[in-house]
Symmetry: C2
Subunit: 310 residues, 2 copies
Amino acid sequence: MDSIKVFAPATVANVACGFDVMGFALQHIGDELIINKTDQPGLNISEIHGSDSLSKNSEENVVTVSAQALLDALEEKPSFGFEFELTKKVKPGSGLGSSASSSAAAVFGINELLGNPFTKKELVPFAMEGERLASGIPHADNVAPSLLGGFVLIRSYSPLDVVELQYPEDLVATVVHPQIEIKTADAKKMLRKQIELKDAITQWGNIGGLVSGLARADYELISRSLHDVIAEPIRGMLIPSFKEAKEEAINAGALGCSISGSGPSVFSLSRGERTARKVATKFETLFKSIGLESYVHVSPINTKGSEVLT
Amino acid sequence: MDSIKVFAPATVANVACGFDVMGFALQHIGDELIINKTDQPGLNISEIHGSDSLSKNSEENVVTVSAQALLDALEEKPSFGFEFELTKKVKPGSGLGSSASSSAAAVFGINELLGNPFTKKELVPFAMEGERLASGIPHADNVAPSLLGGFVLIRSYSPLDVVELQYPEDLVATVVHPQIEIKTADAKKMLRKQIELKDAITQWGNIGGLVSGLARADYELISRSLHDVIAEPIRGMLIPSFKEAKEEAINAGALGCSISGSGPSVFSLSRGERTARKVATKFETLFKSIGLESYVHVSPINTKGSEVLT
């Protein structure tokens, strides 16, 4: 195989109470990457569609940086190189794991072309190098679900321990991306390095509740647990009408609503597509009413993660 | 029914990563309480066996204080009163939920004598009033498992949300109570009111992992998740040879080992009774070697919680 076309999905990280440790993958929305083998070793980006702001320099793009991390881990280096044609369908700065989709696609595609020397889970640390480039921090809560699909818990970063959680089938996400940009690095800076113990206790009660609720398909428990007292109170201030959006989602029947990653996208989770679509309409109407363009996407949890397109 | 004899089990709170939000119940070890109806209204403690330090004054004993909280919640007050004969088999200051056992027994027993106006879960807030008396803080991570049995998560304190977690059957606890006393209030004071965000993230990764591991009987995940970076590093210093005890337990095959409640008791969890007994021997030998008397108890998770004795 000399060429491959792959897809890596957009993702929602944090998932309210799971700050820095949880994420899930979306369907349909994600980055596409065509990878061609080249005669000479080396990594080269030929085209980037869908974004003007990303560099083609191999040391400045997450695609080549994460691909290089994979190649560095191989004992026998390939005698050939790789050329990448990236189609961005997740907007940078959306809070939907844009850089993670590109990184996941790169390491997943190269691994396929090399005959799968690594499992998908083993690819996570390579894709994390793309995140290090993008935000300064090699976080895994976007790249892990983008590779593996599903609902993922990063139990530990040192050593890295990625847990694929159980979750019910009819959980449907509504994400809205209001057209303003928040840089992950800026959003991280606003958070305090120390937090109140009582807030931490609230947060770990909720994460225990969310994981338990997901495991036994207890929607009421999921709903009661989807709260974030750490990042949302601070980051919510950066998103126009965030409070109203959350209120509208809950009133429309969503189980919960919070910020996707570091924003500005907002996500909600609902039981079943009908409610999720109702929430989508509420989001659209709200952001229109304040004169802010927004894109809304309704999606069940993506169970596949990164995949080969034919 | 004019008289009843009830049992409420000892409990292990915190369970490593679940500081203030998790607890499980033990078998065989717990407080016994005989409650007799009296002609006149009022609450009266006639006898306390097994402890010299507890007051019989109805405003100073957790039995009568939690019983009073239950009576206060009744719309129609009973025309009779209650007399209590308490047999303490959980030592005060052991870290095994001594006050919680007494409180749970009191509210469970009175509820039975009144024809069960409340469910067991509804009894939790009354028993928490006993905890408020004992330690200044109405925590629920001992009283909830003592009443309900099993593995319990306090998802939220405000409003109170008690979640009965799924867990595998062949999980066996080994608890050792070295004969020194630590007051819960003192142990709480040593903890900082602010913690590092990075430590909080580590902790909620672990609690997510523990809840997931318990739900799907993934013993390796349970084992990897049984870590506490918040309370154990501070409270461990109060327990002689704690580090060595933990090391011995892990070496003997335990899934994990940490402090029970605020100590000084230490607990470990193992898969199966054989390993749990091996750990028990290690604990006994270790504390003997430093000249400290200790009591060791091996117990599967108590599935019943508070119960009527016949």
